[in-house]
Symmetry: C2
Subunit: 101 residues, 2 copies
Amino acid sequence: MEEHQKHRNPNDHIVLVGDKPFMNYVTGVVMQFTTQNANEVVIKARGKFISRAVDIAEVTTKRFLEGTVDTAGIKIGSEDFENKEGRQVRVSTVEITLIKK
Amino acid sequence: MEEHQKHRNPNDHIVLVGDKPFMNYVTGVVMQFTTQNANEVVIKARGKFISRAVDIAEVTTKRFLEGTVDTAGIKIGSEDFENKEGRQVRVSTVEITLIKK
């Protein structure tokens, strides 16, 4: 379990952003609020995927779930990890929390 | 003047992130706090540069000005504009506010 997830309830709704098609993530967030009835969804991303996480939050709150879901908070941070060449590298992280109004 | 800047004091310290070398922006932020004695610096970015804005904030607060400058708040938003083909497109924006402790 990653450090920043330790204090989270395991039932929390989390979407981790990677390089799948953009709409997969938007649909994932929307479905957690609708079919899974979540009150809160956290969008997490690292490095270059941070811009995408913001796009997903904006498209969800301003288009698909406009008026019913808001961005409640945004946290940024850094993680150190070893890359495939064995060097210690630093990467920025973001957590965007969306909540049902 | 852009819409989201209307209510800002013209003396506010703003760094707009683009595709110049990464360290130019870090140095720019650091110098505003040090030689220009700013109490607050706002890092702004749009689209793909949002990830970079987060990197700049993290490197500034965790390395160069560790212990003296913190991330005070992060806002995300969207802007509509006409691209060079004349089509209306949407782009995400971020504003990261750093403050002197």
